[in-house]
Symmetry: none
DNA sequence: GATGAATGAGGTTTCATTCAT
DNA sequence: GATGAATGAAACCTCATTCAT
């Protein structure tokens, strides 16, 4: 049943149209996927490595092989390009998460898969996570920030919350759990781990706490310890 | 015993000199505390509200009532001012945390006090947290980032780790716990909560997950749920 | 007799070909009047509201319902489009003036009709006047400016000069009058009035001098006073 | 008595403070007159020759011998520099007009002096007049346009209106004259003449009407004819 | 110690014009 | 005839930092 709920979330095009605003112009819809991805990949790379303010649109355009004028035919502002790159990167992870959480596994099995996926994805797609960490640099109206957060976070939160609610129904987790809050805390841990894998400062912070350099370690210990933490939190007194 | 360990950490001046680099010039040491605080408060305010790149040193100097020339007598670069402000703000919270963790309470009692303190502090000192969230905007050598992280994170991590290690020795928490990792996860939750209380995007994210607007809620539910989560994680199978 | 002179001016096609240069390409001649007018009306609207430099040809093309490529099939440059719009708008007024001045009325009767027409036309066709006020923004060779002025001003000047010369012959006005100069001054007053009716700054200037807001007044006082001024100038010591 | 009225207008500093807004920053007040004038002269030259949009602030700064950064310490925007240049140029003419109109001469004597001064000034200070002709290029709020018009036009209008009112009191001009309207028409003629002397298009227009090239003629005929026109307008039926 | 005038590189964004289809 | 994607030069404005006084 939850499968239906979640698949609705990800596939139903009506729903998509309702909540997804576009942060690019019509012209961007018309170009072929190769160029589209090229622009988003290059953009992500620049934003991730130099930060929102440090990134230079002219350089992004050049590296993407298009003129700056054309870039502005696709995106009205630097911020719009940034948000589009961000959504693009986030969607890739969400798809992976969705596949895990929609399975018939028990929540703790899902949790392990989740952590493994987060680790792998963070190593493979460093730049998407770095970009996510740049998100606070959108200084704009409260309204704008709200809309963007809605778009980026609603899918991931639905996936988490739905899975926990299901586990509650099944009796797989402690019964006094508030699914929403636990989903939030779970996400906090996952997100923090992602940053520990990708962002220089948080990498260093992780080393200071654990003594481990994520660039040179294998992931098993990290997975084990985090799983232990989450497992306890979910199962206490059950 | 742990009291000695931690107090060593916070008071021993030799130790301080060893790890604490200065990010300000000599001249800054010589001025009186009032002006010193004025500069750091104003700087923090600007960095917090406009972000690292958006903040303007000339404006900070003006608001602090000193000339820009003098500002550069105190700090060599914008980054140095930023880091000094950051350390100043972080120290204020660390002191509060220290007082809690150095007590004779059991870990779970400490945890509750900790969360309450985090909540209160986040509401009261929004700008210090916002600044912390700007830390990724320091684009500098790996070496520099390492040194800064060391200064900012080592105190807080020591406080967490020492407390958990103590609890382990006393048998107050589950025995298969790795103190360092658990400290890291604990910090992740605390830090995420701080951001949820202060940074626009994370506020919104919190609302999306929990349905609660931190600007208008009372803290008890949040404290209860987070405590439940942490308590389980610490106590599982004990 | 003067009717012949003026009608020659307006209708003789040989004459037209002699002095009227085209500022559009052949292709523009071949399209139907509806599209032709649509382009010129939209262009005028844009130039009038945003100024010469502020107007955007791409937007004009879009609003006129044609592609930018086609626009450049019709006009070689932005300047050519501007001039063509300008001539189009000026012709509309000239036709009205011609009908008045070609009549058998005495000069002072004509003058009153003239002023009334100017007022009505300015209110109705604001954008044509605004465009005329943009004419200085054509920065081009002296030769080009000369040619354009010739096209725009020669008709109106002929109408004025011919009428005054006729009145001189008839003895309807003071005999020491130099028809050309008086025509020039008359035009200055008419043109200034047109600007006072249409251009923001000149509207304001009119208000500062007279205390009257042209947007909210009726025209009779203005007509009366200007007529008084012109009448005296024409009739002194006759 | 009118002398008092007008001198009040020009010299009273309280009055000045009331109506004169500043369009430059404090820093501009502090620099010495030589640099101040250098900037305004160079700025005027650029705006006059290339138009408001065509003028390039970086070039103005370079030609004035200061850095672009410093330019922006003096003026917040291009528009502010433009307006300051404009006021500077207009003040020069107003001073000359003031000296004429404040004299004890009869209005017609003043009129002649006025025209002569306009001619001389237009030849000598072409760029100030050209700038004035660029004034419509200020595309800004209605409020802003209103304030600027007030500053630029109020002095000149007061001078004209006061003089005409005086002449009315003395019985030097026709009694059915509305001083304000006549001042407006008088200014229209003067302004049109200024443009005919300075702006390419209006020079050409003058040539088309009168056959005279202002670059190569002596002024007497122009002065005579215009004086005749104005004299009649003032004196009719007196 | 204290000032603040001065610098100038650099980035976002616009828009007239071209040309392949 | 008609399209509209593509170009890229150029301009306004900001701000970290220096240095003469």
């Amino acid at each position: 049943m939850h499968k239906i709920k979640l698949s609705f979330l990800c596939n139903n095009t009506k729903f998509k149209k309702m909540i997804e605003k576009k942060y690019h112009k019509e012209a961007f819809d018309r170009i072929d996927d190769e160029r589209k991805n090229q622009i988003l990949e290059v953009g992500t790379e620049e934003f991730a490595s130099k930060g929102y303010d440090g990134a230079n649109i002219n350089i992004i355009a050049k590296k993407a092989g298009i003129s700056i004028g054309l870039m502005y035919k696709y995106f009205s502002t630097k911020e719009d390009l940034f948000i589009t790159c961000l959504k693009y990167g986030m969607d890739i992870l969400v798809k992976a998460l969705y596949d895990i959480m929609v399975s018939e596994d028990k929540l703790l099995i899902k949790a392990e898969k989740l952590i493994r996926t987060i680790c792998m994805h963070s190593r493979k797609h460093t730049k998407y996570i770095k970009m996510y960490n740049e998100i606070n640099n959108i200084k704009n109206s409260a309204e704008r920030v709200r809309a963007i957060a809605e778009e980026i976070e609603s899918k991931r939160s639905s996936i988490y919350i739905t899975s926990i609610e299901e586990a509650l129904t099944r009796g797989d987790v402690r019964s006094d759990m508030d699914a929403k809050f636990f989903a939030f805390f779970l996400d906090n841990l996952m997100t923090s781990l992602q940053f520990a894998y990708t962002c220089d400062y948080y990498k260093e912070k992780f080393r200071i706490y654990t003594g481990i350099d994520v660039n040179e370690c294998d992931d098993e210990q990290i997975i084990t310890e985090l799983l232990k933490f989450i497992e306890s939190a979910f199962s206490f007194g059950k």
